[in-house]
């Protein structure tokens, strides 16, 4: 930057810059003016123009509008103006005859260095990013997606390579600082920062506006109650099931309607994937390593949906979880697969409760008593049957739980020729399939079809085991 004199930043694609070109020629004749062009070093014609198509000078000067005119004295900026304002230009230059045939005022145009496509690259080139993760350099001919596979960063599907530009853009999706520590990620107990989550969210394919949801889900799995280490190290099937509540679900285009647990929605697919990638990469929870699942389940790639609050007469699950209706929140549940509950015939809530209860008896193994906590995903047509019978969600819950008490003889070791079962000493007693806290209910699904689902959990949700965790989303 010069010691003394004037600097003008212009671009050809700005009508105001074109208009003030004769003024710049007036000033050039006085000497001490350097003109930088953002888009065309041949503009303004007939002048000695410096090339700033790389935008480094514009970035360093923090130019927002072109034309910008800056006066330097002893190496420091002392005055600037932007757009065309004859009074301001004359005051800054000490002349009183500038652009006599021009209008007194004409606003300028946005500077190229402020456009998002250029700004991220400029911040990175000038080292103005909050990222501190180490850079892994690629070979000249190395394919970035293949490189991610080779380094063990993938869940088995291609990931979006986490370039600095993409991670910087992802961090724009949250107001939280990149260096904020969310906790220690099991099993390695390495530090999990907002930045590390953002890197994994990029790889999962998230949009930046998903970040608040991803961060809340990460906070939830890091909660002691979720028991991430145990759910990873287990030989059972489970992974984090992520349920989103509140208006944010609609704002980021999540799907809680038809195919809510299926494919085809970017937010559903990538938020769940980001959580699993973060667990894998930050905490080291990998199959054949700490993750000892015998079979696992396809949801360990991604298992995320939102409750269909708009389409339901019930209070959202957030209310059951102690938050107020309308709260933006994420609930994580260590679950697996989907056991369908089909009942086309039930026309009363009693019949439907019996169907759900009987179906729940089969979870894991009909003789596994108590069975794991379960999440019911109730479809709209089944909700309608319950509502028409005058049952709300609380009644439905209590009626199912009442049907969870089983005669011990029916589920005893040796009964039905099965080795599994409760101890013979319990003969004559009733035994519960679910713990009193073992049933969550959420509403989702398409408008047609009497097809609900059970998502079984890890184990009975005792304090030593995994319990569902709900976290409010900080936007």
């Amino acid at each position: 930057m010069q010691e003394n004199g004037l600097i003008a930043i212009v671009k050809r694609d700005c009508p105001t810059c074109v208009m003030v070109a004769p003024v710049l020629q007036q000033l050039e004749s006085d000497g001490g003016l350097t003109v930088y062009s953002q888009d065309d070093p041949g503009f303004p014609e007939g002048m000695d123009v410096a090339d700033d198509t790389a935008l480094d000078i514009s970035y360093r000067l923090e130019v927002e509008i072109v034309p910008t005119l800056v006066r330097f004295q002893d190496g420091a900026e002392v005055e600037r103006t932007y757009g065309w304002d004859r009074v301001a230009w004359e005051s800054l230059t000490g002349r009183d005859d500038l652009g006599a045939d021009l209008p007194a005022f004409k606003p300028g145009c946005g500077a190229l260095n402020q456009e998002q496509d250029y700004l991220a690259e400029l911040k990175i080139r000038h080292g103005d990013t909050p990222m501190v993760s180490r850079l892994v350099s690629l070979g000249a001919k190395e394919d970035a997606i293949e490189a991610c596979f080779e380094r063990g960063w993938s869940d088995g599907l291609p990931v979006v390579p986490p370039t600095q530009e993409r991670v910087l853009a992802m961090l724009e999706g949250t107001t939280r600082a990149a260096d904020e520590v969310l906790g220690l990620m099991p099993s390695n107990l390495d530090i999990c920062t907002v930045e590390k989550v953002a890197i994994n969210a990029v790889m999962a394919g998230c949009r930046p506006d998903y970040m608040p949801v991803v961060l809340a889900a990460i906070e939830a799995v890091l909660d002691e109650d979720y028991c991430l280490h145990g759910t990873l190290a287990t030989t059972r099937f489970v992974g984090p099931v992520v349920i989103v509540n509140g208006p944010i679900a609609k704002q980021i285009d999540m799907n809680g309607k038809g195919n809510a647990l299926g494919q085809g929605n970017r937010a559903n697919a990538t938020i769940g994937r980001a959580v699993n990638l973060a667990v894998r990469n930050i905490g080291g929870g990998k199959p054949q390593g700490v993750d000892r699942a015998t079979l696992g389940n396809p949801g360990k790639l991604s298992y995320c949906f939102c409750e269909d609050e708009e389409g339901s007469a019930w209070e959202p699950m957030t209310v059951d979880r102690g938050l107020k209706a309308g709260a933006n929140a994420v609930t994580v549940f260590a679950g697996y697969g989907l056991q369908g509950v089909i009942d086309d015939k039930a026309r009363s809530p009693e019949e439907l409760a019996q169907t759900f209860a009987t179906s729940l008896h089969a979870v894991d193994n009909i003789h596994k008593i108590p069975g794991p906590d379960c999440l019911l995903v109730v479809c709209p047509e089944h909700e309608i049957t319950l509502m028409q019978g005058g049952w709300d969600k609380a009644r439905f819950h209590s009626e199912i739980m009442a049907r969870m008490q089983l005669p011990a003889e029916d589920v005893m070791r040796g009964a039905h020729g099965m080795a599994e079962g409760v101890k013979p000493e319990l003969a004559g007693q009733t035994v519960p399939k679910l713990l009193p806290t073992g049933l969550l209910i959420v509403r989702a699904g398409g408008g047609a079809g009497k097809f609900s689902g059970i998502i079984p959990g890890w184990t009975p949700g005792t304090p030593e085991s995994s319990r569902p965790v709900t976290k409010e989303i900080k936007t």
Binding site: I124, V136, D190, I199, E464, S465
Partner: protein, 94 residues
């Protein structure tokens, strides 16, 4: 380095620290052996049988038990094992 030639590391950046294993003792004579029951179903039967066999050879055995298989061992148990025994036998998973 051009920007597109580098990726940000998504991992915990855990350096691969090589820790040499302690040399195996050539004999258990005079040593104290710990056995850790991790609370996995029937793991207690296995480690107790092992402890009995060791004691039958005149070896001092100390028994430890994790409260739950689901979580890592509490620090107090880790500390006790480090301080009290020379060798430890632990069951892992199934």
């Amino acid at each position: 380095m051009s920007i597109a030639d580098a990726l940000l590391d998504p991992t915990g950046e855990r350096e691969a620290v090589e820790k040499p294993r302690l040399a195996r003792p050539t004999s258990l004579d005079g040593l104290t052996v710990g056995v850790l029951d991790i609370s996995k179903v029937r793991g207690d039967v296995f480690v107790e049988h092992l402890a009995t066999l060791l004691e039958g050879r005149g070896i001092t055995v100390k028994r430890y038990r994790k409260p739950t298989v689901a979580r890592t061992a509490p620090k107090e148990i880790e500390k006790a094992i480090v301080e009290e025994v020379d060798v430890v036998v632990e069951g892992l998973a199934d």
